[in-house]
Amino acid sequence: MPGVILIFISALFFPGIILRTKSIASGRKGPGIFQPLKDIAVLLRKGSVFSGTTGIIFQIAPVIALSTLVCASLLLPFANQRSLISFGGDFIFFAYLIGLGKFFSIIAALDTGSSFEGMGANREAFFSMLIEPAFFILMATFAMFTGHTSFSGIFNHFFLTGNDYVLIFSIIGIFLFTQIAMVENSRVPVDDPRTHLELTMIHEVMILDNSGFDKALIHITSYLKFAVYGSLMYNIIVPSGWNIFLHVILFLAVQLLFAVAIGLLESFRARNKMNKNPKYLLTISAIAWISFVIVLILTNKLTV
Protein backbone atom coordinates (compact mmCIF):
# COMPACT_ATOMS: atom_id res chain seq x y z
CA MET A 1 0.00 0.00 0.00
CA PRO A 2 2.73 2.59 0.79
CA GLY A 3 4.05 2.01 -2.73
CA VAL A 4 0.73 2.95 -4.34
CA ILE A 5 0.43 6.07 -2.16
CA LEU A 6 3.98 7.08 -3.09
CA ILE A 7 3.20 6.55 -6.79
CA PHE A 8 0.19 8.90 -6.49
CA ILE A 9 2.23 11.50 -4.57
CA SER A 10 5.09 11.43 -7.09
CA ALA A 11 2.60 11.61 -9.99
CA LEU A 12 1.35 14.92 -8.56
CA PHE A 13 4.75 16.57 -8.87
CA PHE A 14 6.07 14.75 -11.94
CA PRO A 15 4.82 17.12 -14.71
CA GLY A 16 5.79 20.19 -12.68
CA ILE A 17 9.35 18.96 -12.27
CA ILE A 18 9.60 18.20 -16.01
CA LEU A 19 8.32 21.71 -16.80
CA ARG A 20 10.72 23.35 -14.33
CA THR A 21 13.68 21.39 -15.72
CA LYS A 22 12.78 22.38 -19.27
CA SER A 23 12.41 26.03 -18.23
CA ILE A 24 15.77 26.09 -16.47
CA ALA A 25 17.50 24.24 -19.34
CA SER A 26 16.18 26.74 -21.89
CA GLY A 27 16.99 29.78 -19.71
CA ARG A 28 13.34 30.79 -19.17
CA LYS A 29 11.64 31.75 -15.93
CA GLY A 30 8.84 29.34 -16.77
CA PRO A 31 5.86 28.16 -14.72
CA GLY A 32 6.14 26.82 -11.17
CA ILE A 33 6.13 23.18 -10.15
CA PHE A 34 2.44 23.36 -9.18
CA GLN A 35 1.26 24.90 -12.46
CA PRO A 36 0.14 21.57 -14.05
CA LEU A 37 -1.84 20.81 -10.86
CA LYS A 38 -3.51 24.22 -11.03
CA ASP A 39 -4.38 23.59 -14.69
CA ILE A 40 -5.90 20.24 -13.78
CA ALA A 41 -7.88 21.84 -10.95
CA VAL A 42 -9.29 24.36 -13.45
CA LEU A 43 -10.18 21.57 -15.91
CA LEU A 44 -11.81 19.48 -13.18
CA ARG A 45 -14.11 22.37 -12.30
CA LYS A 46 -15.28 22.62 -15.91
CA GLY A 47 -17.89 20.41 -17.52
CA SER A 48 -17.21 18.26 -20.58
CA VAL A 49 -18.51 19.11 -24.04
CA PHE A 50 -19.30 16.16 -26.31
CA SER A 51 -19.64 16.28 -30.07
CA GLY A 52 -22.93 15.04 -31.54
CA THR A 53 -21.07 12.41 -33.59
CA THR A 54 -19.53 10.74 -30.53
CA GLY A 55 -21.12 7.91 -28.58
CA ILE A 56 -20.76 6.27 -25.21
CA ILE A 57 -17.22 4.99 -26.02
CA PHE A 58 -15.89 8.52 -26.20
CA GLN A 59 -17.43 9.38 -22.83
CA ILE A 60 -16.17 6.36 -20.90
CA ALA A 61 -12.68 6.10 -22.47
CA PRO A 62 -10.84 8.64 -20.21
CA VAL A 63 -12.26 7.00 -17.06
CA ILE A 64 -11.30 3.51 -18.26
CA ALA A 65 -7.78 4.66 -19.21
CA LEU A 66 -7.29 6.15 -15.72
CA SER A 67 -8.79 3.16 -13.90
CA THR A 68 -6.62 0.66 -15.81
CA LEU A 69 -3.54 2.58 -14.79
CA VAL A 70 -4.64 2.76 -11.13
CA CYS A 71 -5.15 -1.03 -11.25
CA ALA A 72 -1.72 -1.46 -12.89
CA SER A 73 -0.09 0.52 -10.06
CA LEU A 74 -1.56 -1.99 -7.56
CA LEU A 75 0.62 -4.69 -9.15
CA LEU A 76 3.90 -2.97 -8.33
CA PRO A 77 5.75 -3.96 -5.17
CA PHE A 78 7.48 -1.54 -2.81
CA ALA A 79 10.60 -2.37 -0.77
CA ASN A 80 10.35 -5.98 0.45
CA GLN A 81 6.55 -5.91 0.69
CA ARG A 82 4.40 -7.78 -1.77
CA SER A 83 2.23 -5.74 -4.07
CA LEU A 84 -1.51 -5.51 -3.35
CA ILE A 85 -2.23 -7.84 -6.27
CA SER A 86 0.42 -10.41 -7.05
CA PHE A 87 0.41 -13.67 -8.99
CA GLY A 88 2.64 -15.54 -11.41
CA GLY A 89 2.92 -13.73 -14.75
CA ASP A 90 1.36 -10.52 -13.38
CA PHE A 91 3.65 -8.43 -15.59
CA ILE A 92 1.65 -9.72 -18.57
CA PHE A 93 -1.53 -8.56 -16.81
CA PHE A 94 0.18 -5.21 -16.18
CA ALA A 95 1.08 -4.78 -19.87
CA TYR A 96 -2.42 -5.67 -21.00
CA LEU A 97 -4.06 -3.36 -18.45
CA ILE A 98 -2.05 -0.49 -19.91
CA GLY A 99 -2.88 -1.84 -23.37
CA LEU A 100 -6.60 -1.85 -22.50
CA GLY A 101 -6.43 1.82 -21.48
CA LYS A 102 -4.65 2.64 -24.72
CA PHE A 103 -7.17 0.61 -26.73
CA PHE A 104 -10.04 2.66 -25.30
CA SER A 105 -8.18 5.92 -26.03
CA ILE A 106 -7.72 4.76 -29.61
CA ILE A 107 -11.32 3.72 -30.22
CA ALA A 108 -12.50 6.93 -28.52
CA ALA A 109 -10.42 8.88 -31.06
CA LEU A 110 -11.97 6.85 -33.88
CA ASP A 111 -15.42 7.44 -32.38
CA THR A 112 -15.18 11.17 -33.05
CA GLY A 113 -15.19 10.55 -36.82
CA SER A 114 -12.41 13.09 -37.33
CA SER A 115 -9.79 12.14 -39.91
CA PHE A 116 -7.07 13.84 -37.84
CA GLU A 117 -7.90 11.81 -34.75
CA GLY A 118 -8.05 8.61 -36.80
CA MET A 119 -4.57 9.40 -38.12
CA GLY A 120 -3.28 9.98 -34.57
CA ALA A 121 -4.93 6.76 -33.36
CA ASN A 122 -3.32 4.85 -36.20
CA ARG A 123 0.15 6.15 -35.28
CA GLU A 124 -0.36 5.59 -31.56
CA ALA A 125 -1.47 1.98 -32.15
CA PHE A 126 1.48 1.30 -34.47
CA PHE A 127 4.10 2.74 -32.12
CA SER A 128 2.60 1.01 -29.07
CA MET A 129 2.67 -2.27 -30.98
CA LEU A 130 6.36 -1.80 -31.79
CA ILE A 131 7.40 -0.92 -28.22
CA GLU A 132 5.46 -3.75 -26.56
CA PRO A 133 7.98 -6.51 -27.48
CA ALA A 134 10.72 -4.51 -25.72
CA PHE A 135 8.74 -4.57 -22.45
CA PHE A 136 7.91 -8.27 -22.71
CA ILE A 137 11.44 -9.33 -23.67
CA LEU A 138 12.88 -7.23 -20.82
CA MET A 139 10.50 -8.72 -18.26
CA ALA A 140 11.16 -12.22 -19.63
CA THR A 141 14.87 -11.49 -19.17
CA PHE A 142 14.31 -10.47 -15.55
CA ALA A 143 12.10 -13.52 -14.99
CA MET A 144 14.80 -15.85 -16.29
CA PHE A 145 17.47 -13.99 -14.34
CA THR A 146 15.68 -14.24 -10.98
CA GLY A 147 13.65 -17.42 -11.55
CA HIS A 148 10.35 -15.68 -10.63
CA THR A 149 7.44 -14.65 -12.80
CA SER A 150 5.65 -12.01 -10.72
CA PHE A 151 6.70 -8.40 -10.17
CA SER A 152 7.07 -9.02 -6.42
CA GLY A 153 9.16 -12.16 -6.98
CA ILE A 154 11.35 -10.58 -9.65
CA PHE A 155 12.09 -7.33 -7.82
CA ASN A 156 12.50 -8.90 -4.36
CA HIS A 157 15.05 -11.37 -5.72
CA PHE A 158 16.73 -9.09 -8.27
CA PHE A 159 19.69 -8.25 -6.05
CA LEU A 160 19.67 -11.57 -4.19
CA THR A 161 20.91 -13.57 -7.19
CA GLY A 162 24.49 -12.67 -6.24
CA ASN A 163 25.31 -12.47 -9.91
CA ASP A 164 27.92 -10.01 -11.17
CA TYR A 165 25.72 -9.23 -14.15
CA VAL A 166 23.07 -7.51 -12.03
CA LEU A 167 24.70 -4.14 -12.84
CA ILE A 168 24.38 -4.79 -16.60
CA PHE A 169 20.71 -5.69 -16.18
CA SER A 170 20.09 -2.61 -14.03
CA ILE A 171 21.63 -0.35 -16.69
CA ILE A 172 19.76 -2.05 -19.54
CA GLY A 173 16.55 -1.95 -17.47
CA ILE A 174 16.87 1.77 -16.70
CA PHE A 175 17.60 2.57 -20.34
CA LEU A 176 14.74 0.47 -21.69
CA PHE A 177 12.15 1.56 -19.09
CA THR A 178 13.03 5.20 -19.81
CA GLN A 179 12.55 4.67 -23.54
CA ILE A 180 9.32 2.70 -23.03
CA ALA A 181 7.98 5.39 -20.67
CA MET A 182 8.79 8.10 -23.22
CA VAL A 183 7.02 6.22 -26.02
CA GLU A 184 4.02 5.18 -23.89
CA ASN A 185 3.56 8.79 -22.77
CA SER A 186 4.01 10.12 -26.31
CA ARG A 187 7.06 12.26 -25.56
CA VAL A 188 10.23 13.19 -27.46
CA PRO A 189 11.75 11.70 -29.64
CA VAL A 190 8.70 9.76 -30.92
CA ASP A 191 6.11 12.45 -30.24
CA ASP A 192 6.18 16.02 -28.96
CA PRO A 193 3.40 17.29 -26.68
CA ARG A 194 4.30 20.91 -27.55
CA THR A 195 3.54 20.56 -31.24
CA HIS A 196 0.69 22.64 -32.65
CA LEU A 197 0.43 21.15 -36.12
CA GLU A 198 -2.19 18.42 -36.31
CA LEU A 199 -0.40 16.59 -39.12
CA THR A 200 2.67 15.93 -36.99
CA MET A 201 0.79 15.11 -33.79
CA ILE A 202 0.30 11.61 -32.43
CA HIS A 203 -1.22 11.60 -28.95
CA GLU A 204 -2.26 15.25 -28.86
CA VAL A 205 -4.35 14.92 -32.01
CA MET A 206 -6.21 11.97 -30.46
CA ILE A 207 -7.50 14.05 -27.59
CA LEU A 208 -8.42 17.18 -29.55
CA ASP A 209 -12.14 16.60 -28.93
CA ASN A 210 -11.76 16.04 -25.20
CA SER A 211 -12.42 18.96 -22.91
CA GLY A 212 -12.90 19.94 -19.28
CA PHE A 213 -13.20 17.07 -16.83
CA ASP A 214 -12.32 14.37 -19.39
CA LYS A 215 -9.19 16.20 -20.45
CA ALA A 216 -8.13 16.47 -16.81
CA LEU A 217 -8.52 12.69 -16.47
CA ILE A 218 -6.37 12.14 -19.57
CA HIS A 219 -3.63 14.37 -18.14
CA ILE A 220 -3.78 12.61 -14.75
CA THR A 221 -3.46 9.25 -16.58
CA SER A 222 -0.34 10.49 -18.35
CA TYR A 223 1.26 11.72 -15.09
CA LEU A 224 0.40 8.48 -13.32
CA LYS A 225 1.92 6.46 -16.14
CA PHE A 226 5.23 8.28 -15.68
CA ALA A 227 5.17 7.56 -11.94
CA VAL A 228 4.35 3.88 -12.60
CA TYR A 229 7.37 3.50 -14.91
CA GLY A 230 9.46 5.45 -12.40
CA SER A 231 8.41 2.90 -9.78
CA LEU A 232 9.49 0.04 -12.09
CA MET A 233 12.89 1.70 -12.48
CA TYR A 234 13.20 2.25 -8.73
CA ASN A 235 12.64 -1.48 -8.17
CA ILE A 236 15.60 -2.45 -10.36
CA ILE A 237 17.92 0.15 -8.80
CA VAL A 238 17.30 -0.21 -5.06
CA PRO A 239 17.70 -3.59 -3.30
CA SER A 240 14.44 -4.52 -1.57
CA GLY A 241 15.92 -5.52 1.80
CA TRP A 242 16.85 -2.02 3.01
CA ASN A 243 15.14 0.06 5.73
CA ILE A 244 11.61 1.16 4.79
CA PHE A 245 12.24 4.87 5.56
CA LEU A 246 15.33 4.81 3.40
CA HIS A 247 13.16 3.23 0.70
CA VAL A 248 10.64 6.08 0.88
CA ILE A 249 13.40 8.68 0.49
CA LEU A 250 15.07 6.74 -2.31
CA PHE A 251 11.75 6.22 -4.10
CA LEU A 252 11.08 9.95 -4.17
CA ALA A 253 14.70 10.62 -5.19
CA VAL A 254 14.46 8.17 -8.11
CA GLN A 255 11.17 9.71 -9.26
CA LEU A 256 12.72 13.19 -9.01
CA LEU A 257 15.78 12.10 -10.99
CA PHE A 258 13.57 10.39 -13.58
CA ALA A 259 11.49 13.57 -14.04
CA VAL A 260 14.64 15.71 -14.32
CA ALA A 261 16.12 13.23 -16.83
CA ILE A 262 12.97 13.43 -18.96
CA GLY A 263 13.04 17.23 -18.80
CA LEU A 264 16.68 17.28 -19.89
CA LEU A 265 16.07 14.72 -22.66
CA GLU A 266 13.20 16.81 -23.98
CA SER A 267 15.29 19.97 -23.81
CA PHE A 268 18.31 18.67 -25.69
CA ARG A 269 16.85 16.09 -28.00
CA ALA A 270 15.13 16.71 -31.29
CA ARG A 271 12.03 14.89 -32.33
CA ASN A 272 12.49 12.06 -34.84
CA LYS A 273 11.20 12.30 -38.37
CA MET A 274 7.95 10.35 -38.48
CA ASN A 275 9.37 7.71 -40.85
CA LYS A 276 12.37 7.12 -38.54
CA ASN A 277 10.19 6.16 -35.57
CA PRO A 278 9.54 2.48 -36.46
CA LYS A 279 13.28 1.84 -36.82
CA TYR A 280 13.99 3.65 -33.54
CA LEU A 281 11.38 1.59 -31.68
CA LEU A 282 12.62 -1.65 -33.19
CA THR A 283 16.17 -0.80 -32.06
CA ILE A 284 14.87 -0.62 -28.47
CA SER A 285 13.38 -4.12 -28.90
CA ALA A 286 16.67 -5.33 -30.39
CA ILE A 287 18.56 -4.14 -27.29
CA ALA A 288 16.02 -5.94 -25.09
CA TRP A 289 16.54 -9.03 -27.23
CA ILE A 290 20.30 -8.90 -26.67
CA SER A 291 19.74 -8.70 -22.90
CA PHE A 292 17.62 -11.82 -23.28
CA VAL A 293 20.46 -13.61 -25.09
CA ILE A 294 22.82 -12.54 -22.26
CA VAL A 295 20.53 -14.15 -19.73
CA LEU A 296 20.40 -17.28 -21.90
CA ILE A 297 24.19 -17.37 -21.71
CA LEU A 298 24.17 -16.72 -17.94
CA THR A 299 21.64 -19.41 -17.15
CA ASN A 300 23.70 -21.86 -19.22
CA LYS A 301 20.87 -22.40 -21.66
CA LEU A 302 23.36 -21.84 -24.49
CA THR A 303 26.48 -23.51 -23.18
CA VAL A 304 27.53 -27.13 -23.40
Binding site: K279, L282, T283, I290
Partner: protein, 204 residues
Protein backbone atom coordinates in the same frame (compact mmCIF):
# COMPACT_ATOMS: atom_id res chain seq x y z
CA UNK B 1 35.24 -10.60 -18.97
CA UNK B 2 35.04 -12.47 -22.27
CA UNK B 3 31.25 -12.55 -21.96
CA UNK B 4 31.16 -8.74 -21.61
CA UNK B 5 33.22 -8.43 -24.81
CA UNK B 6 30.97 -10.86 -26.67
CA UNK B 7 27.88 -8.90 -25.57
CA UNK B 8 29.49 -5.67 -26.79
CA UNK B 9 30.34 -7.39 -30.07
CA UNK B 10 26.66 -8.38 -30.50
CA UNK B 11 25.58 -4.80 -29.74
CA UNK B 12 27.85 -3.51 -32.53
CA UNK B 13 26.08 -5.91 -34.91
CA UNK B 14 22.66 -4.48 -33.98
CA UNK B 15 24.12 -1.01 -34.49
CA UNK B 16 25.27 -2.09 -37.98
CA UNK B 17 21.67 -2.86 -38.84
CA UNK B 18 20.41 0.47 -37.46
CA UNK B 19 23.18 2.82 -38.72
CA UNK B 20 22.81 4.83 -41.89
CA UNK B 21 26.18 6.54 -42.30
CA UNK B 22 29.28 4.89 -43.69
CA UNK B 23 31.53 6.59 -41.15
CA UNK B 24 29.59 4.82 -38.37
CA UNK B 25 30.13 1.51 -40.16
CA UNK B 26 33.86 2.19 -40.20
CA UNK B 27 33.94 3.12 -36.50
CA UNK B 28 32.00 -0.04 -35.70
CA UNK B 29 34.50 -2.12 -37.71
CA UNK B 30 37.35 -0.58 -35.70
CA UNK B 31 35.52 -1.33 -32.43
CA UNK B 32 34.91 -4.90 -33.58
CA UNK B 33 38.65 -5.28 -34.31
CA UNK B 34 39.42 -4.08 -30.79
CA UNK B 35 36.87 -6.42 -29.24
CA UNK B 36 38.18 -9.38 -31.26
CA UNK B 37 41.68 -8.56 -30.00
CA UNK B 38 40.41 -8.60 -26.41
CA UNK B 39 38.52 -11.86 -26.94
CA UNK B 40 41.59 -13.47 -28.55
CA UNK B 41 43.81 -12.41 -25.63
CA UNK B 42 41.42 -13.85 -23.04
CA UNK B 43 40.44 -16.96 -24.96
CA UNK B 44 43.46 -18.19 -26.89
CA UNK B 45 45.88 -18.50 -23.99
CA UNK B 46 46.49 -22.16 -24.80
CA UNK B 47 48.17 -21.61 -28.17
CA UNK B 48 51.86 -20.72 -28.39
CA UNK B 49 52.97 -17.19 -27.58
CA UNK B 50 54.31 -16.29 -31.02
CA UNK B 51 51.04 -17.29 -32.69
CA UNK B 52 49.02 -15.37 -30.07
CA UNK B 53 51.22 -12.31 -30.51
CA UNK B 54 50.70 -12.51 -34.26
CA UNK B 55 46.92 -12.74 -33.89
CA UNK B 56 46.80 -9.80 -31.45
CA UNK B 57 48.99 -7.66 -33.72
CA UNK B 58 46.87 -8.56 -36.71
CA UNK B 59 43.56 -7.67 -35.02
CA UNK B 60 44.98 -4.51 -33.46
CA UNK B 61 46.89 -3.13 -36.44
CA UNK B 62 45.04 -4.43 -39.49
CA UNK B 63 41.47 -4.75 -38.25
CA UNK B 64 41.38 -1.80 -35.84
CA UNK B 65 43.64 0.73 -37.51
CA UNK B 66 44.64 0.01 -41.11
CA UNK B 67 41.39 -1.19 -42.69
CA UNK B 68 39.20 1.53 -41.04
CA UNK B 69 41.77 4.15 -42.09
CA UNK B 70 41.77 2.96 -45.71
CA UNK B 71 37.98 2.80 -45.77
CA UNK B 72 37.64 6.33 -44.39
CA UNK B 73 40.06 7.52 -47.09
CA UNK B 74 37.89 5.84 -49.75
CA UNK B 75 34.77 7.48 -48.34
CA UNK B 76 36.34 10.93 -48.17
CA UNK B 77 37.67 10.60 -51.73
CA UNK B 78 34.47 9.24 -53.21
CA UNK B 79 32.29 11.78 -51.40
CA UNK B 80 29.75 9.15 -50.44
CA UNK B 81 28.89 9.49 -46.77
CA UNK B 82 25.43 8.05 -46.40
CA UNK B 83 23.96 4.65 -47.17
CA UNK B 84 21.14 6.19 -49.15
CA UNK B 85 20.80 3.50 -51.76
CA UNK B 86 19.48 0.70 -49.67
CA UNK B 87 17.40 -1.83 -51.55
CA UNK B 88 15.33 -2.42 -48.40
CA UNK B 89 14.45 0.22 -45.81
CA UNK B 90 16.46 0.12 -42.57
CA UNK B 91 13.41 -1.02 -40.60
CA UNK B 92 13.33 -4.38 -42.39
CA UNK B 93 17.09 -4.78 -42.09
CA UNK B 94 16.76 -4.34 -38.33
CA UNK B 95 13.88 -6.79 -38.24
CA UNK B 96 15.91 -9.32 -40.23
CA UNK B 97 18.87 -8.71 -37.92
CA UNK B 98 16.76 -9.57 -34.85
CA UNK B 99 15.44 -12.66 -36.64
CA UNK B 100 18.97 -13.69 -37.57
CA UNK B 101 20.00 -13.43 -33.89
CA UNK B 102 17.10 -15.74 -33.04
CA UNK B 103 18.08 -18.19 -35.82
CA UNK B 104 21.73 -18.09 -34.70
CA UNK B 105 20.83 -18.86 -31.08
CA UNK B 106 18.60 -21.78 -32.14
CA UNK B 107 21.19 -23.16 -34.60
CA UNK B 108 24.02 -22.85 -32.09
CA UNK B 109 21.87 -24.56 -29.46
CA UNK B 110 21.21 -27.40 -31.90
CA UNK B 111 24.94 -27.87 -32.51
CA UNK B 112 25.85 -28.62 -28.90
CA UNK B 113 28.88 -30.91 -28.63
CA UNK B 114 32.06 -30.97 -26.62
CA UNK B 115 34.28 -29.44 -29.31
CA UNK B 116 32.18 -26.35 -29.98
CA UNK B 117 31.83 -23.31 -27.74
CA UNK B 118 28.13 -22.55 -28.25
CA UNK B 119 28.32 -18.86 -27.24
CA UNK B 120 31.00 -18.14 -29.84
CA UNK B 121 29.13 -20.21 -32.40
CA UNK B 122 25.91 -18.21 -31.83
CA UNK B 123 27.70 -14.86 -32.13
CA UNK B 124 29.72 -16.08 -35.14
CA UNK B 125 26.55 -17.18 -36.94
CA UNK B 126 24.89 -13.87 -36.07
CA UNK B 127 27.93 -11.99 -37.41
CA UNK B 128 27.89 -14.03 -40.62
CA UNK B 129 24.16 -13.43 -41.16
CA UNK B 130 24.53 -9.68 -40.44
CA UNK B 131 27.35 -9.43 -42.99
CA UNK B 132 25.29 -11.29 -45.59
CA UNK B 133 22.23 -9.15 -44.85
CA UNK B 134 24.30 -6.00 -45.32
CA UNK B 135 25.52 -7.30 -48.66
CA UNK B 136 22.11 -8.29 -50.00
CA UNK B 137 20.18 -5.25 -48.77
CA UNK B 138 22.61 -2.51 -49.82
CA UNK B 139 23.35 -1.41 -53.35
CA UNK B 140 26.54 0.56 -52.76
CA UNK B 141 29.65 -1.47 -53.47
CA UNK B 142 31.37 0.10 -50.46
CA UNK B 143 28.63 -1.38 -48.26
CA UNK B 144 29.33 -4.77 -49.85
CA UNK B 145 32.96 -4.38 -48.90
CA UNK B 146 31.97 -3.61 -45.29
CA UNK B 147 29.61 -6.60 -45.35
CA UNK B 148 32.54 -8.74 -46.49
CA UNK B 149 34.65 -7.43 -43.60
CA UNK B 150 31.90 -8.40 -41.16
CA UNK B 151 31.78 -11.90 -42.69
CA UNK B 152 35.52 -12.04 -42.19
CA UNK B 153 35.05 -11.17 -38.49
CA UNK B 154 32.54 -14.01 -38.42
CA UNK B 155 35.23 -16.41 -39.69
CA UNK B 156 37.48 -15.20 -36.88
CA UNK B 157 34.69 -15.87 -34.39
CA UNK B 158 34.11 -19.33 -35.87
CA UNK B 159 37.78 -20.10 -35.31
CA UNK B 160 37.37 -19.09 -31.66
CA UNK B 161 34.24 -21.26 -31.42
CA UNK B 162 36.27 -24.30 -32.33
CA UNK B 163 38.93 -23.24 -29.83
CA UNK B 164 42.53 -24.17 -30.09
CA UNK B 165 41.76 -27.47 -31.84
CA UNK B 166 41.93 -26.00 -35.32
CA UNK B 167 44.60 -23.26 -35.36
CA UNK B 168 44.69 -23.49 -39.17
CA UNK B 169 41.23 -21.91 -39.29
CA UNK B 170 42.54 -18.83 -37.46
CA UNK B 171 45.29 -18.55 -40.06
CA UNK B 172 42.69 -18.80 -42.84
CA UNK B 173 40.79 -15.98 -41.15
CA UNK B 174 43.95 -13.87 -41.16
CA UNK B 175 44.54 -14.75 -44.80
CA UNK B 176 41.13 -13.25 -45.57
CA UNK B 177 42.38 -9.97 -44.08
CA UNK B 178 45.16 -9.92 -46.64
CA UNK B 179 42.65 -10.54 -49.44
CA UNK B 180 40.53 -7.65 -48.19
CA UNK B 181 43.64 -5.48 -47.99
CA UNK B 182 44.35 -6.23 -51.67
CA UNK B 183 40.71 -5.50 -52.54
CA UNK B 184 40.81 -2.13 -50.76
CA UNK B 185 44.11 -1.23 -52.40
CA UNK B 186 42.45 -2.13 -55.70
CA UNK B 187 39.88 0.57 -54.97
CA UNK B 188 42.70 3.05 -54.47
CA UNK B 189 44.46 1.97 -57.63
CA UNK B 190 41.38 2.65 -59.72
CA UNK B 191 41.51 6.36 -58.81
CA UNK B 192 38.13 7.27 -57.44
CA UNK B 193 36.50 10.37 -58.79
CA UNK B 194 34.30 12.28 -56.36
CA UNK B 195 30.66 12.92 -57.31
CA UNK B 196 30.62 10.15 -59.90
CA UNK B 197 29.11 6.84 -59.06
CA UNK B 198 31.90 4.87 -60.70
CA UNK B 199 32.82 2.75 -57.74
CA UNK B 200 29.90 3.28 -55.50
CA UNK B 201 27.25 1.58 -57.61
CA UNK B 202 27.06 -1.95 -58.90
CA UNK B 203 27.11 -1.98 -62.70
CA UNK B 204 24.59 -4.68 -63.33
Amino acid sequence: MVNYLIVLFSVTLVYFAAAERLIIYIRLLAIQGLLLCGIAVFELNEINTVNLLFIVTETLIIKTLLIPYLLSRIISRSGVSKVHRQATPGFYLLLLSILSLLVSVILAGAMINQYINVIYMAVALYTLLTGLLLIITHKLIISHLIGFLIVENAVFMFSLAIGSRMPALINIGILLDIFVGVLILGFFGLRLKPHTNELTMLKD
